[in-house]
Symmetry: C2
Subunit: 405 residues, 2 copies
């Protein structure tokens, strides 16, 4: 993601060089301007050889720590971002606040009751309602996946705790996350429709330690909202083994709280365009994180990647043709609330947004590029790629982005 975001930004930055004509209009040129290539190479080399991105991530995750959407620590992260951007030399910095419904984790315990009495490690899913006073004690009904649960007759799970035991397997492209995490948001309402009183899902992760993955859940309007938690992988294994022996009842106690209306915000820094300042190119990551970690990967990495890329462009000393807007989104994890607030606040200018990209897939060595470059245009990416096809992705996306202009 680092390379992708950096290159996207770099591409737009070098658009300032219009010595051979406006780039957006002649993106199908057979030859890439030599000056442009040189500027891109300068950015790429700088990006690959400094530690600026890491230092930004390290600062955010160490000094702020967890920063749940709408919390005091997310607000502290906004202050951190403004100070960091100023220190890096940005001048057009704004915080755009917006309101949202706050939520905070409470106590969260699960205990098998009866002969095999023992604690199980759970984490409350973001946005979950609490258990009633005294907790919920009920028998567990296990399902291999959400589809199996959906096939259960309505009312067939009256008073039960539904357990979705779907395992996530490692895939290098991360696709298994998308193939698994649908159970997190969808299980509570499907289960409630069948009469269930609470839900447990197997932690959406491929780890084997006893620290379950959180993430948010959601509720449909037409069924009761029931408490929702995730079991760590070893605890899900344990519960499955117990269920092989016979019925299992669990006592759940979860005390998350709705906090009413709280404030989040997007932090925005512009590098003003020289030729078409009203046209905007957006890059960024999200400033909020879940509360159980420090959000180093999700999404400190995106913050570090895009803030460092913007800083490199700033240091190039050439105003870009269009305005490059770095947005450090607030409350992204809990439903893209920052993006929605931005779209609402900037409704009149949306047509002037040429492209927008969020870096939110972690960071690491490049192992594959996806590209939408057609076979006939592949030679165009050559000058940018060097030995590794580095530019194909940005080039392909840029073509699609500017084509409708």
């Amino acid at each position: 993601m680092r390379a992708k975001a950096l290159m996207t930004a770099a591409f737009l930055a070098v658009g300032v060089d219009s010595s051979e004509g406006a780039w957006a209009q002649d993106y199908v040129v057979a030859e890439t301007p030599a000056t442009l290539i040189k500027q891109v190479e300068t950015l790429r080399t700088a990006g690959l050889h400094d530690r600026m991105g890491y230092e930004i991530i390290e600062s955010l995750t160490t000094e702020i720590g967890p920063r749940l959407a709408g919390s005091a620590r997310e607000a502290a992260a906004q202050d951190w971002a403004v100070a960091k951007l100023k220190a890096l030399g940005f001048s057009n910095i704004q915080v755009e606040p917006f309101e949202m419904e706050g939520w905070a984790r409470g106590i969260e315990t699960a205990h098998v009751v009866g002969a095999a009495a023992q604690p199980l490690t759970i984490t409350t899913l973001g946005g979950s309602v609490a258990t009633p006073d005294g907790g919920i004690t009920a028998e567990v009904a296990r399902f291999d996946d959400l589809y199996q649960l959906e096939a259960a007759p309505d009312g067939s799970l009256d008073g039960k705790i539904v357990f979705i035991d779907l395992k996530m397997y490692k895939t290098q492209d991360g696709s298994s996350y998308g193939n698994t995490n649908y159970i997190r948001g969808n299980t509570p309402s499907v289960a409630a429709r069948k009469g269930a009183v609470a839900t447990l899902i197997r932690s959406v992760g491929t780890d084997s330690h006893r620290f379950p993955h959180t993430g948010g859940t959601r509720y449909a309007d037409d069924v009761p909202a029931i408490p929702a938690a995730a079991l760590s992988n070893p605890d899900a294994d344990q519960l499955s083994r117990l269920l092989e022996r016979g019925p299992v009842s669990i006592k759940l106690e979860m005390t998350p709280k709705s906090l009413g209306t709280v404030t989040s915000g997007n932090v925005i820094a512009d590098i003003m365009g020289s030729e078409k300042p009203e046209e905007v190119v957006v890059i960024g990551g999200h400033l909020d994180s879940w509360d159980l970690g420090t959000g180093a990967i999700d999404d400190g990495a995106g913050i570090g990647i895009t803030m460092a890329a913007a800083k490199r462009i700033l240091d190039l000393g050439i105003a870009p043709r269009r305005t490059i807007r770095l947005i450090l989104w607030g409350a992204e994890e809990v439903g893209l609330l920052g993006a929605r607030a931005y779209a609402k606040a900037h409704a009149d200018e949306l047509a002037n947004h040429v492209i927008a990209a969020e870096s939110d897939f972690g960071a690491g060595r490049i192992w594959r590029f996806e590209s939408r470059v057609g076979a006939e245009d592949l030679p165009l990416s050559g000058p940018f790629t060097g030995n590794c096809g580095l530019w194909a992705l940005a080039w392909g996306r840029m073509k699609r982005a500017v084509a409708p202009m």
Copy 2:
């Protein structure tokens, strides 16, 4: 450890074959009796090709779960053990109870206070005292290891929270655990002597997840007992990074409780000897575990290994010459209390104990044998070893064990 314990037991079992003279008296024979070798091979083959050991571990850790010394769940594990031994065909089964001081974990939280306010994940060390009402808020004093702390002048840490940031590195033979875990028991009293009010240690483990390792601590009589906890490795990293930036204060809240006198016990099963029934060979593992896991490795593995080995010997259908005593120790993790109680209760018979071994180093594939077999005796182990020197260890230890007789 599986192989070691099994072989030790097997060795003693085949001692029944005295067709070529009492084995203990002629262990320096140049030739190993062929009948003995065959019986040993029968046991070894059986042990390597069934799943009995695993099934015992799976049953204990699933059906009982965590079983802290002196707790109701340790008592449940004793009941489990008696029922399992009966089901396996053992007839001489005893539970020998003993009294101990009980302890139970409570709430355990740590928060950095001030500008970098954030939670840190800790676990209270076993036996630790609680923090005073309202917790302890104090500045952290970091040390690379216990030796550096010992070098600090008395009184120089008045009111501070001592943090021992000693890292454990992976070593295949597990030696790094022994080289690191001395900080767990020793830090509180050394720190208290310097004036500290609480201690944190880096989790004694090589993992990188946010689930700290517990284990017990202890207190010297001549200094105040102060609360002691472990930080997970990522949290210790985080605290170190914060300390590089300047002073850090932490609020600690820990509410463990002393439970007064509670009961633990050893579960004992004898395979009576035919020729010297009063002479005892002890094998076993410990039934108690820490409360944060299910004790599958520490020490479900030892229970499974030794109970299965004893069962194999039982199934051989030949009464051993000496009595083989399987002891499933209680309250081992909190200071070998089961062993001490046994030694006291059996003081009169201790001289009749020929050898005793506890399997408590986990389980896994064999990668190395330690042996005390002298060069001149190495050929003796040959017949037992096949291709892998399997018997060297047991043979070497047996020689040392029987030599004083």
